[in-house]
């Protein structure tokens, strides 16, 4: 009995690993297929029956994807927009949460409630008037239009508020007794304690902004102000047939920046964001 039980346990372990590997292959398969496609010449994308053999045109497909839609410029735009917006959002959220947690003022509940409007009012809910507003400001086709409407954040304010409320009372009292000014307290004590939250939020906001498509499509006109997601659409629509090798090369290039940010900040993201918002 003992032997067969041990064998059964071993079999269960084995089955578990096999299941996990199969599940992971299912999740990763579309990307693997895209990688394979991106290495072939155009002829190779029509191969029938389809297979998973890589081709040897990798340099030419990636450089074509890069050059046909001026992907360098589009990536730069996406980068500027995503980094700027992430930094501004984190800053504004931190300042607002700081006021809400560490000060007593009349409008604090209203101010906290107002940040939740950002959840309730995403782009599609006000798209025509926001576009009109950009025209009034003369901001159409500019970085201002791509960034400003996103600067306020409920998620960030909520996250910092949660975190600040968990800061020990003693620390605050001690700081006050020592005559520590509020902004110095924020800079010297709270920010150094908040790096996990800041990192997690940076990931969330960077990925979110990098992947915007609808608003940039509406509010930019010139090729030089387009963002990388629109570049993929442009690759899809150039020519009479889909050049899948080049489209996939473009998609992989555009996926890389948020993927790298995710890989670096994964642990922080889980500890500083997921554990705090989703429980």
């Amino acid at each position: 009995m003992g032997v067969s039980r041990a064998k059964w346990q071993l079999f269960k372990r084995f089955a578990l690993y096999v299941t996990i590997v199969v599940a992971i292959i299912i999740v990763c398969f579309p990307l693997i297929y895209a990688l394979v496609m991106s290495t072939r010449d155009l002829q190779g994308t029509f191969r029938y029956p389809p297979d998973l053999m890589p081709g040897n045109s990798i340099l030419s497909t990636y450089s074509q994807a890069w050059n046909t839609v001026n992907l360098g410029r589009l990536m730069l735009n996406s980068g500027i927009v995503a980094v700027t917006t992430s930094i501004v959002k984190i800053t504004l959220a931190m300042l607002a949460a700081f006021a809400i947690v560490f000060f007593d003022f009349k409008w604090k509940n209203i101010a906290f409630g107002a940040t939740f409007l950002t959840q309730l009012l995403p782009v599609p809910v006000k798209i025509v008037p926001t576009f009109e507003l950009m025209k009034t400001f003369g901001w159409v086709d500019s970085y201002y239009a791509l960034t400003f409407p996103y600067f306020a954040t409920a998620t960030g304010t909520f996250l910092f508020r949660q975190f600040f409320m968990s800061v020990p009372e003693d620390l605050v009292d001690a700081a006050r007794v020592d005559g520590c000014r509020p902004m110095k307290f924020l800079k010297d004590i709270l920010i150094p304690l908040s790096w996990n939250n800041i990192g997690a939020l940076f990931l969330v906001e960077f990925v979110y902004m990098w992947n915007r498509y609808l608003w940039p499509l509406v509010v930019t006109e010139s090729e030089s102000m387009r963002v990388s997601q629109i570049g993929i659409k442009m690759l899809m629509t150039t020519g009479s047939i889909n050049k899948w090798n080049i489209i996939m090369a473009g998609a992989i290039i555009v996926l890389l920046p948020p993927l790298v940010v995710l890989l670096f900040l994964q642990k922080t993201f889980i500890e500083g964001f997921v554990m705090r918002t989703g429980k």
Binding site: A23, V27, F103, L120, V123, P124, V128, V207, W244, A251
Partner: protein, 294 residues
Amino acid sequence: MKSYFPEKILPYLLVAPSIIIIIVFLVYPFGQAIWGSLLRGGVWGATTRFVGIRNYVELFTSPDYLWTLGRTFVFATFATLGGMAFSLGLAVLLNQKIKGRIFFRTAVIWPYALSPVIAGVLWALLFDPSSGLFTYLANVLFGMELNWRTNGTLAFVIITVAAAWKNIGYNVVFFLAGLQNVPQQVLESAEVDGASSFQRFWRISIPLISPTIFFLLIMNYLYAFFRTFGLVDVATQGGPGKSTEILTYKLYQDAFVFFDGGSANAQSVLLFVFIVGFTYLQFRYAQRGVFYGG
């Protein structure tokens, strides 16, 4: 008693930037959307006419809009339930005592970094009517001819699967966090009492992670409703016919292709009503769960 800093003016200055952004770029345009939804021909044309609720009446009497509304709900429901079920399964697997857990976790949550646009092109490639791998497999295994450019149902299935697949990373991360909060002692004592692993999962883990399940349910619906425009726009452009036209796609078309500002604004306001509905459900039923932590 909580102690506060004594400054009186400073807190207002600290919240001012957020509040100004919210008023100028969110509240004001939304007010304009409500007002614009009561007008005809005004937003883009020369003469503005007040038409009361006529834009809304026209939407709700137009089969086109009602179909799009229904289609979006079906799309969101399948994408949400399918994606969440698969993700929960994955999370349970990854929550076992296994070697290389961090590696496996990364291999599963990476789609979090993926945009709906990229998800759209990857699945459009897999189902390409002439050379797609899945088109080929369906033909060889089941003798089916798959062409989503003519088959609306297939196109709808593809965008649903792509949308669900893209959100796996997000779902797994939150499910894993939820499962890790299930107390180990409870599970172990149930095991001692003879509960099978299936029973332990259904009777202990699922009830304990129900706040996570509810949170993700709402987040997935919101995602499927509001963040899938790019996926549809690159993969199917709403077609063939209107078989993949979802609410945001119709809104974009009416606003920026057909320049029907009044109707577009009315559609925007209706989208807001849906968001309020989802958010209400979240606060009403998930309040205890979703916001207790931290």
